[in-house]
Symmetry: C3
Subunit: 468 residues, 3 copies
């Protein structure tokens, strides 16, 4: 028995399936470009073995444990580290068993596809995970993890990753990236400039962060001009570790382009901790436009990830902290929100701004029309809950007719689950090829063109958009 179907995600009608399979086979073995994600660079710096199956697949993956929590399994029983000192399960085998006996909860989800793909293609397992197979799977995976071939660098090479971008705070010293660069390993791991903690007045410790930012850069970050200069300096530092992009996770897509004097005054309020919520939002919005202007100078690609209501459950946040599966999308406006930035820099062909969304209603109504007009704007791939077969299908169906393929930027896996990287790229390649096959079968795209587009979506557009 196999866990994965060789024709998975292809159209069901046989001729169209054949088209999809042919398209897929032409791109299946292309290298993986992973220009946006959250892998831990220390994995590749230290190249230590992954501790155990539970730590590899369950404990850090909020896609997985949230589903068990939603059905009444406690986070503590799944070993999720607590923020309030409460005891949590520390026996990885017990965590694994709880995961295994609830594996049916993931039926029909992308997580189950990614996990089955990893089990079969990374660990060579052929039986479905369940209460019955839990221990055998655990032992098998644990034994594999002890092998050199399953250390991070070996897996990176085996996965065919040509480039992997991680994401680091503006205050990060990038020591792991330095260690990778200094090593004899040739894997290409680059960083991404993520300044939320020095850009968002509502971030914990904002003023202290900005002071530290000044110390790191040698700029006087108590002034608006010095603060902007510190960003320029830090962006240059990140570029020396391969960064080609910045990334911004904001509650909304709001941008501003206020006079510099007003921005300076708002920055002073932010440092003083006296911003209203509206002013904090305006400051974040102003900083997106400032970052875009810096990008015109230094060439970094600007990524905007808006629209997540973070830490929705007060008790989960108090007990377990951030990134625990309780970030909920909310309605997101782009047409009004992006106008200040677009009026400032949107017509610049040398700038690339990549916008993501968690609000699918914006694809056809706002994002595709905007990306199909402004030279600076590109659409990021389906994000988070929409990084899935249906999510990708809806994205292509809702955007292609209005902004084509060439205002999109290939795939991002956006993951901290390392073993899922080949699985996620595989789902994206299959889903895109299924979409293209359907266009060919219905006379909307020529076959040769479809092959070229498949290659573009898999490989070329990501390299081009992220300037890799």
């Amino acid at each position: 028995m196999k866990l994965t179907d060789p024709d998975r995600l292809f159209p069901v009608e046989s001729a169209t399936r054949k088209l999809a399979r042919d398209l897929y086979e032409s791109v299946a073995d292309l290298p993986i470009i992973s220009p946006h994600g959250h892998c831990d660079p220390s994995w590749f710096a230290k190249n230590e073995r992954f501790p155990d199956p539970a730590q590899l697949f369950v404990v850090p993956d909020h896609y997985v444990f949230r589903m068990l929590v939603s059905q009444g399994v406690s986070m503590a029983d799944l070993g999720v580290p607590s923020a309030d000192g409460r005891a949590v399960e520390d026996d990885p085998r017990k965590i694994w068993r709880r995961f295994a006996e609830n594996y049916h909860l993931l039926r029909g989800t992308p997580s189950s596809m990614w996990l089955d793909h990893s089990f079969e293609h990374v660990f060579d397992l052929g039986e479905r995970l369940s209460a019955d197979t839990a221990d055998a799977h655990y032992d098998h995976i644990d034994a594999k993890l002890a092998e050199d071939a399953f250390r991070p660098r070996a897996l990176f090479d085996r996965f065919g990753i040509e480039l992997l971008a991680t994401t680091e705070s503006a205050l990060d010293d990038l020591k792991w990236h330095k260690m990778i660069n200094d090593s004899d390993w040739n894997g290409r791991v680059v960083t991404t400039y993520r300044p939320d903690n020095v850009v968002d007045p509502e971030f914990e410790g904002f003023a202290e962060n900005v002071a530290q930012f000044g110390a790191l850069t040698g700029e006087d970050t108590s002034t608006w001009e010095g603060y902007l200069q510190a960003h320029r300096v830090r962006r240059a530092f990140f570029k020396t570790f391969g960064a080609t992009a910045s990334d911004h996770g904001h509650p909304t897509a709001r941008t501003e382009d206020m006079p510099q004097a007003d921005a300076a005054a708002l920055f002073a309020k932010a440092l003083a901790g006296t911003c209203t919520p509206g002013e904090a939002d305006a400051f974040r919005g102003q900083m997106l436009t400032e970052m875009a202007r810096m990008s015109l100078d230094d060439g970094l690609v600007l990524q905007i990830h808006p629209g997540s209501f973070r830490n929705h459950s007060a008790s989960v946040f108090a007990g377990f902290g951030r990134d625990k599966g309780f970030d909920i999308p909310s309605q997101t406006d782009y047409v009004h929100a992006l106008k200040p930035l677009l009026d400032a820099v949107g017509m610049e062909p040398s700038l690339t701004v990549i916008v993501f969304t968690l609000d699918e209603t914006s694809y056809s109504r706002e994002l595709a029309p905007l990306a199909g007009a402004y030279p600076a704007l590109r659409l990021g791939p389906p994000w988070w809950f929409f990084d899935s077969n249906e999510g990708i299908k809806r994205f292509r169906e809702a955007t292609t007719e209005t902004c084509g393929f060439y205002n999109t930027v290939g795939f991002n896996d956006d993951t901290r689950a390392f073993c899922s990287i080949p699985a996620r790229h595989d789902v994206a390649r299959r889903s895109d090829c299924a979409y293209l096959a359907n266009l060919v079968a219905t006379g909307r795209l020529g076959l040769a063109d479809a092959h070229e587009v498949a290659h573009d979506l898999t490989y070329r557009l990501a390299k081009q958009a992220y300037r890799l």
Copy 2:
């Protein structure tokens, strides 16, 4: 000629169709669980014959008559009872003929599927309804209705209904349920606690209703504490008639969890009739959280049905009253609205809150992410305008990848059209099996798993979620 295709709603590709048919055949004959609906309990209490075809299929069914009204047929000509004393058609055959000659207006709608299913499978008719067949159909159905086999209890049994929940106001004396319980009939008809008229300060006669509520329960409903206690008493009374759930139809999904003193003050304003619209909305929102807390004690499942702009046409409301097909969905927020309730009780695995929507944009953006995280939250099936083949398809496609199958609760028919119950459950079973077959055919779900899920969606999840 047959009115219904044996393979209706199955995928068109032959292998996938075969999969769907196999799945469907394994659940087609399972008993019907109808845990939420609006059948009249007096039908089963009195077990009188249904009066005539027009009264059975046209006059009370706003799904049907609204479509004719939308094309210029007057409500009065369709025999819809007036609220302002105007004369309406009282000849059922004339009503039926008007219905029949406009039957083509329902092409492509779920109503036409349900009606054709009823005509063929309940009444054994084989010709499409039209002006030409109107009289023959009328005579045939009318003759059947005179038979004992077509009385409410006999149809209930014939339809294979294991349980049917009706919905009664908190002020209802449940006499029909008592009569059913006291009868020698074994059909299981239970009530549901629907307290809108004593919870919504904007309901006609709110203060009088609350006073009557006090009289019924022996509690002093002029105080906040007494009012809450009256709910506890009345919920217990409803439980003695089989209630396992409460139901709440609010304009928005707003919840509140204000300090009890503030809630008491707001209740006083509500009784005094001095609430602003915003305060009335806040009071309704507070009551959802209060009901959830009572559910923790008494085990009733909490159902929230928000987002309908009721009685949109002022003239229709003045002329014909409520529930006349002029209730229009409106945009509904859940991510902010439900947070107070979820912060209060959302992490309680012993609580079940079932949320419905008329705003499909919330499926993937808000509802599935929330239900895929909070243990207390479940998604109700597609509601009202979305209780349809395409509605169910979009629901599964938009929610499954994020919250799986097990945060959904099976099917609700939600109907007052008794003969449509088997038809609606059949559409749901076929639509779910079509979805599952497609997952199997595209390698997203194993066949054995699909069979288990089909059974769960048809039968087990409804019983489990509603604690039946």
Copy 3:
């Protein structure tokens, strides 16, 4: 090699494809009814040759040039006339080459389908446009344009257009329509009453426009009563040139039904230029209801086209003016916005109000429920970015189950790209037949009914809704 697939847009499964093909063949050759669009009536009045391929296909078509602009080609290089005096490319062959070498950007878009259809079926070209074929295509098309058979009237006849409606401002003298009427040509080209420039207080030169409106009609448009009377007079004038409809492009769908004295006071403020933005919106909303009341008297169909954020890019608007591909849809409410108008006149079966949307979320949530209830309301076909195969599919899937087919009004091409008219109607006919074939194949519609509906959607409903 052919540019278009004879089975394009049909379902891929062979039996369903056969059904779709049969349905399509029964309507493929029906005359084109084009009841809403933006062709230039002077084409048909003067019947001069189209100047060159670039002026025919690129320069005036913002669907096309926006996509090239979005990828960094400048508008000036595409010959788009400037509003600020800057020089723009004036060599049509250079414009055409730029278009040709970027033709791949349109892959997967409706524009590429329409263009390929025009190239093959109007100009008898068989090779895909590209840098390699640019000059040959240019020469070929240019030579054809010199032939009498490619003059506007000849193409109109060849396209099988039974009726074409253009759209003129309330201040237009309709001289081209007069010239057409006075000619010996029998083509039926009618006008549409579009009063935005005398209805929108925020339109450039509103007060002067209203004064001119008074001069044209002989009414005293400085008073509210005279202003309304001027509309009545002008509508009657437009009717003498075949108008059966008015059209209104507003930022929102807001309607109002204020007391006449309030409306008069607001009109005075509008003339004085002292309206706030909210008051201007209210005035526009009031005028929709006034227009609807006039329609009750004179029978003109009322079309509402709301929800476009016009001229989103300040710099493009400054440099190139209106209608340059930078109009972006925004979220649009209908359920609250239309209530004043619907309360005033929505139950009138003799009135037809056709509502369009650029916000697809409103189809199932608001528009189909409203159109499935109010006798005066009909849904316009998918508009602008949604006039496409996927757009039509989503429209039918989202609306049919709730408002059926008969609350929709057939197809509008809404175009100023003359050669795209047969292509657009062909896409609509194929897409509708594909939808109907799928209903038949899944047992949701009888085959004979499907044939009748196909004819209705292609021909009868447009004539009926627009009273042609």
